[in-house]
């Protein structure tokens, strides 16, 4: 259940951004979530509903999740490939000398105010 902990982090950052922009009510929060960030989107939105409705600033607001695809780079043949489809070893040259380029993001993209 790290999703609940992450929701508390999001709420803290959104509160800060709202205060800086003189916002009284937030209607939506858009997240960029990497495909291999270990976040389960459904858990995150469920935890959001429970926690956000306890805050005047966020009551009824929607958490929108953009999934960012995971891309791995191969250090031996230099090519990039889809992480989830092929995993740790490069599908082009079978090298295990690979590292993640994107896909680990847990990022607040933007806040919607209406």
């Amino acid at each position: 259940m790290h999703e609940l902990g992450i929701v508390f982090y999001i709420i803290r950052d959104v509160k800060q951004a709202a205060a800086e922009n003189n916002v009284e009510h937030v209607s939506g929060v858009v997240m960029n979530i990497g495909e291999v960030s270990t976040i389960v989107p459904q858990y995150l939105t469920d935890c959001w509903r429970w926690a956000a409705d306890k805050e005047d600033l966020l009551r009824g607001s929607e958490l929108k999740i953009h999934i960012l695809p995971a891309v791995t780079h191969c250090g031996d043949c230099g090519r990039d490939y889809a992480t989830v489809k092929h995993g740790r070893n490069c599908p082009h040259c079978n090298s295990p000398n690979t590292w993640l380029l994107h896909g680990n993001e847990v990022e607040i993209k933007e806040i919607e105010v209406s």
Binding site: I6, Y9, G28, P96, K109
Partner: protein
Amino acid sequence: MEEIKVIEIKKSVFADNDKDADLLRQELKQKGTYLLNVMSSPGSGKTTTLIQTINRLKDKLRIAVMEADIDGDVDAVKIKEATGIPSIQLHTGGMCHLDAEMTRQGLDNLAAGEADLVILENVGNLVCPAEFDTGSCRNAMILSVPEGHDKPLKYPLMFSVCDVVVINKMDVLPYFDFDMDKCKEYIRLRNPRARVIPICAKSGEGVDVFAEWLLQEVKQWKQA
């Protein structure tokens, strides 16, 4: 149509915690206190390993322990009884991990300014604690033989953030299909720098190696 105003944020939710953790590390450096964050699954033998390690180092270093759990104080009591060193229990209030702010509160309550070494026993969990930097100087992970040699493949992030992997319960190796070579290979895939130390916390075998590693770490932290 109702107009929606959008405020761009573009910020990782871990950014603030990462900043807090770096600040805490700087403060610990100034005080000459070394903080080790110990992570593992529930039941890997963290507390027993710590007791064995502390008893080998308590004459050489001033040590204190913080036990993090969702509830209960059995671990803090056990450490205090078995080693005589100060220990406190932190409750995460249902959360599956500690962050830098909670760690700082624990250190304040422990009055840890006097200690050379503070050991933080994180919540037993291989997923969440790996995501949240506690402000520790190093991360140690304890993997026990019954859990299987394929854990590094299943929980890659945990293994990639660890500086040392202690493999515990070596005494039961003959009864399990645990392949030590494969385990080391999988750990190296995730983290080529990680040191692997096989031990048996119950008998104390191998604990000297871990204790010596920790002693040198603390000495280096206090010098540099």
